[in-house]
Chain length 253, copies 2
Amino acid sequence: MKIVLIGSGNVATHLANAFHKVGLNIVQVWSRNLAHASALATQVGAQTISSLEEVDVNADFCILSIKDESIVEISRQLSHFKGIIAHTSGATDIDIFKENFINYGVFYPLQTFSKQKQVDFRSIPLCLEANNPSTLLKLEELAKTISQNIKPINSNERKVLHLAAVFACNFPNYLYGVASNLLTDNGLEFNLLRPLILETAEKVMQALPQNVQTGPAVRNDEQTMGAHLKMLENQPEMVSIYKLLSDGIKMGK
Amino acid sequence: MKIVLIGSGNVATHLANAFHKVGLNIVQVWSRNLAHASALATQVGAQTISSLEEVDVNADFCILSIKDESIVEISRQLSHFKGIIAHTSGATDIDIFKENFINYGVFYPLQTFSKQKQVDFRSIPLCLEANNPSTLLKLEELAKTISQNIKPINSNERKVLHLAAVFACNFPNYLYGVASNLLTDNGLEFNLLRPLILETAEKVMQALPQNVQTGPAVRNDEQTMGAHLKMLENQPEMVSIYKLLSDGIKMGK
């Protein structure tokens, strides 16, 4: 299987390395940032291309792992591509390929990627969608080389997943940062909270979060919540967040 | 070392089991709920007592692991105790013991406990405070039997930690629940999000959360955020949470 990769960001990099690791052939890498494209291409033994016109139109897959707002524009410039084109975006409809391609789809890894940390792709849900059954089969074949967790997911479902991922990942990480700032401002180390953060996540690997909620809000411990709000009184945004999330916990929704 | 345990909730249960596992002698368990006390006492080979007057006044430690609002009242009834009395509360000052005891302190495990899940105590930060150096030494001796992560933390620091723990644990778990509801409402399984949740927590085991923030808000991706808000339009509380946390991420604080 020959793969052309468009993009050199976090998702593109992790995906390229995962494909490369299982021996797949990434033939070309293109990125708006040529230096990034070249660095990634070198990592995975691919050719760097500086123009989308150079794309090998006979490759099996062209994976677009670029910013959501660029997908339409870049894909238009790839209309000469003859294989399967797929984007990796959680929030972008499959239909954006409709006008310019015959076989197309979505290859969405439901995970958070940072350049500095390796991830094990085998357990990452790969959410696949295609415009016809044979294309879905080929995307599944590709996906199975790197993950054991393949899900056919349509565009509407994927948008829900993407939104849910913001609540389950981006917002919790932000709140870890709030906690970290609270500690730092008081001369305490963030390290103290790390076991708690990990255990909180590990707990919901088996249980449902609603069944393992702890803390003052779920106990309706007004005294503690009052003391917390008093400690935050110089940070009005934090007061708002504390109240809103505590209210949500109290109402159990 | 002889320990009297007051309480039979999540913290009391996990603590009792950790002490029992390393061979410490829990002599008595008291709880307002006699059946719970008896069940826990049986687990750890202790005597159940139905009245605080029966407390073995010559035990080395009396650990109060009860609701915050009961600590003052219950401790008053234990003023005949001769050993070290300590509570396990994050939000309660050490001084509540001042009037009735000579040697007292705090033994606060910074972790989230649920009855259905075992935890490994060795990495849990045990935050200790005492009213004199010899009592602190004895609490440290006790703590070292179950954890390798012992920290002297004063009452003000502990209150900050407790507040930070709400942001790092209780609120993220609530948001996991919001994500779970979004999926369930759309016929999708929570299981799809579990690898993402775990990776989000694992990422900050090394990195600082501020350095690994991902998602539409940190990219200032207004198009995606607009689409998300539209999907939430029938849930005004969720719109408020989405906006408030996204604003926090955008402002980087």
